[in-house]
């Protein structure tokens, strides 16, 4: 799973690891899991005023539609167990757990859980893909 911050960062910096991950997903190098909650959070975050000059409303909608059409949608689990310092991240952890997915995030609150859970920074996950791709 790519956290909302990774998806947005991918749109803002063509040369960064998040953008490279987005292209690798489009090329079929890994399966991207999304959910209704993740798409809702992405939609809200994309409407953040400071992003508007860089990502138009139409492009934001088109990006959400691209994810809806090409990513794998999973149901959000009911689980409400608090695992992250930021309770707002818990739905991501619950979804990752229910789908056996790894989480890729730039959020320190999640990255600090790396010892316990399969969570990677965009750079780390990109390196893992490089190692696993012949």
């Amino acid at each position: 799973m790519l956290d909302v911050n990774v998806l947005i960062a991918a749109l803002l910096a063509r040369d960064g690891a998040p953008a490279r991950l987005l292209l690798r997903w489009l090329a079929g190098d890994f399966e991207l899991i999304i959910s209704d909650k993740l798409l809702s959070e992405l939609g809200r975050a994309l409407s953040y005023p400071k992003l508007r000059s860089r990502i138009s409303r139409d492009d934001a909608s088109a990006f959400v539609e691209l994810l809806e059409s090409a990513a794998t949608k999973a149901p959000d689990p009911d689980e409400r167990k608090q695992r992250s310092r930021d309770a707002g991240d818990d739905y991501i952890l619950a979804l990752a757990s229910s789908t056996s997915a790894v989480v890729v995030s730039g959020d320190r609150d999640l990255l600090d859980l790396r010892a316990e859970l399969p969570i990677y920074s965009p750079q780390e996950f990109h390196s893992r893909l490089d190692q696993s791709t012949p």
């Binding site: 960062a9 749109l11 930021d86």
Partner: protein, 77 residues
Amino acid sequence: MRKVRTTLTLDEEVMRLVKVRAARQGKGDSEVIEESLRRDLGLELLDRLWSGDQLSEEQAMQLALEAQHSTRSRRRG
């Protein structure tokens, strides 16, 4: 970007429409097919977004985190 030569097997009707569109738009068949694929694969959208002023990877992540957390707080509040 470097081009590669490839061979595709397409439905006859699809190819006919490609040729019609190519003729109307004064483009080659390959260009029409590539444009359609870029659109369908999401590359057209990314090309458009990435054609503007680019942030560094670190700046992009900071702004993305700010957008994610600010809109979360607003929702809860």
